[in-house]
Amino acid sequence: MSIFVNQDTRVIVQGITGTQGKLHTELMLKYGTKIVAGTNPKKAGSTVFDVPVYADVKSAREATGANASIIFVPPAGAADSIIEAIDAGLDLVVCITENIPALDMVRVHDRLQNAHTRLIGPNCPGIISVDECKLGIMPQDIHLKGHIGIVSRSGSLTYETIKQLSKKGIGQSTTVGIGGDPIKGTDFLDVLKAFNEDEETDAIVLIGEIGSQDEQIACAWAKENMKKPLVGFIGGVSAPPGKRMGHAGAVVNGKGGSARDKIDALEELGVRVAPISDRIGDTLIEVLKEHGLLDKCIVK
């Protein structure tokens, strides 16, 4: 098992004919992801790497039985693309697009309330269940199949962490990049809940950063409910207040949003926090040892 995506996930690429869409369609196909359709209203009837292109998500879904999509549409049309996928009744939508206007995301947020669709992102690297399905833009050769679940607001730090773990023979089950935007679909709490129920996952790494209090909320839930050990990292200890550090959501605004506040809160909730990103792997190993899980988690 794994969470949210597996070998049965059938994928539509929204924006398949653009530069990024094409590039990552090819890479995902190589990984073994079942991409069954693409969409572009102006290029219906054509193909990209033998994947048929449809005018919209609804017709692509009806023709192929797809249950998920990944979006590479530019910011101006990205929110409408998400809403199109929600309206077509897909189970899962991953939105890679960065810089979607905030009010558009408020509109998307409203539409998600009564829908069964799960949105991951926007402004994220996507999700990968190792050796089963890659629905994202992460490099593929760093992963190793195993028992660690990873959830992160940062793409680059996720790759860094995966590389550290794989080097030490510690495999991953599913990695979820929830994205760097302030308004997003899936948050830390949703992913922790799913990992908690996933038989394949034995421990979780949570990579957070400045801004919001989502890390604290998720870890407070974990303290009461989580059956598995949790290791954390928070980026932005040296970030000045009020300054946006790359991600739209990475701004220290008000109480609880600073890295220091988060690290203190997480430690108080019993989560071991790595002092620097280079030590995320070692910190996890320490915790796995204490729980008698290290031998099981070293898969190579």
Binding site: D110, I183, Q213, R244, G246
Partner: protein
């Protein structure tokens, strides 16, 4: 993206949101002219136009009862540097003023409209305790802060808004006027893709609401569909390196330390500056090269970074997933050669194309060293700088 008070007040006027009569002035002669033509009876407030909070406390807002007093106040303010809580140690230079009619008033209120990210909704925030910083009110007296979420699709609900007005102590005609003001503010917020509209203080004059201050910030992600918003940008208010970087598709933040860093990805950028900090050194900046980076942008990043004041060395921390590290290494080593940069450069480059990247580093004539992790790069830099001293 922030704008000036005088620009925000013009937007308020465009949306029929009540503000006192006022005019921007860019030099002393203009102040005199405005006083003669617009305020022959005197009684104005001379307000420094700098994009930072706490202007009043820093001496940036002066009362003047006559034309002479106004010109004297303006002469004091033009060219003055204001130091506020939010301005940073470098302060904010006053280049523009706003001359506004004095408004006799009693109570001061706080009112703002923003997006609550956790709720995913637009929310009005108000308090009877205006005039002071809302963060302070939130800390000392959180019950004094009132909140009213608004559904984007439905707009402001009349009943909810009247109840909101009542909680602030407004009744009858005043309550109706206040609700009308909320509606106009909401229209401004949504039509112009704002990220914040803030009035602190709002007051009551002759039984009607009036916005004595106005702050508007725009969503920078929406500038592509708001050409009028982009026109209001005042580049002089921004850190020049930060402005230049953002025009090139990169994110840059000055941090005041002496060790620079170049990274790809916001998370890696933050963790690199944090690791510099962890080794007891001071990061000069945050720099994320941004997506689809090539050698030209990497070279520009290096040239921009070494202009940062007091910089003694540069750490490069790149993890190439999709990004091609060989192109980044090419751009940076070429920039080192071209600028003849003599300070130490420590490079940790890993991932897509790294064999070729390491060749570029090995062949570069500069003061350049490889490292295999971020912490190793930071320790190496610390050692190199110690040797120099």
């Amino acid at each position: 993206m922030n704008i000036h008070e005088y620009q925000a007040k013009q937007l308020f006027k465009d949306y029929d949101i009540p503000v006192p009569e006022g005019y921007p002035a860019f030099d002393l002669a203009e102040v005199g002219r405005i006083m003669e033509e617009r305020f022959p009876e005197g009684k104005v407030v001379v307000k420094a136009q700098v994009q930072t909070g706490g202007r009043g406390k820093a001496g940036g807002i002066l009362l003047a009862d006559t034309k002479e007093e106004a010109v004297t106040a303006a002469a004091k303010l033009f060219g003055k540097t204001l130091y506020t809580k939010q301005s940073g140690p470098e302060g904010k230079l006053v280049r523009k003023l706003y001359i506004e009619k004095q408004t006799p008033h009693e109570k001061e209120y706080y009112l703002s409209l923003l997006i609550d990210n956790r709720l995913g909704k637009c929310v009005f925030i108000a308090s009877k305790e205006g005039g002071m910083e809302i963060e302070e009110v939130a800390e000392k007296n959180p019950e004094a802060i009132l909140r009213m979420p608004v559904e984007l699709g439905e707009g402001i609900n009349e009943e909810t808004a009247l109840a909101f007005a009542e909680k602030l102590g407004f009744a009858d005609e005043m309550a109706e006027d206040f609700v009308a003001l909320l509606k106009r503010m909401f229209r401004l917020f949504t039509e112009r893709d704002c990220s914040l509209v803030e009035v602190n203080p709002m007051s009551v004059c002759d039984g009607k609401p009036i916005c004595l201050d106005a702050k508007v910030s725009f969503d920078s992600g929406a500038l592509f569909r708001q050409p009028l918003n982009a026109e209001l940008r005042d580049i002089l208010e921004e850190n020049p390196l930060e402005a230049e970087a953002s025009d090139e598709g990169m994110s840059y933040v000055s941090l005041g330390g002496d060790i620079g860093c170049i990274c790809n990805g916001a998370g890696l950028g933050m963790s690199t500056m944090d690791t510099i900090n962890y080794t007891g050194c001071k990061p000069a900046n945050f720099l994320d090269l941004g997506g689809s980076v090539d050698d030209a942008r990497a070279g520009k990043a290096f040239k921009l970074l070494i202009r940062e004041k007091g910089i003694k060395g540069v750490i490069i921390n790149i993890f190439g997933g999709i990004a091609r590290t060989n192109l980044i290494a090419k751009g940076i080593t070429e920039a080192i050669t071209e600028t003849n940069y003599q300070g130490p450069v420590v490079c940790r480059i890993e991932g897509n194309g790294d064999a070729e990247a390491h060749e570029y580093i090995a062949n570069c004539k500069g003061n350049i060293y490889p490292a295999s992790s971020c912490i190793e790069a930071c320790m190496k830099m610390k050692e190199l700088l110690k040797e120099e001293r």
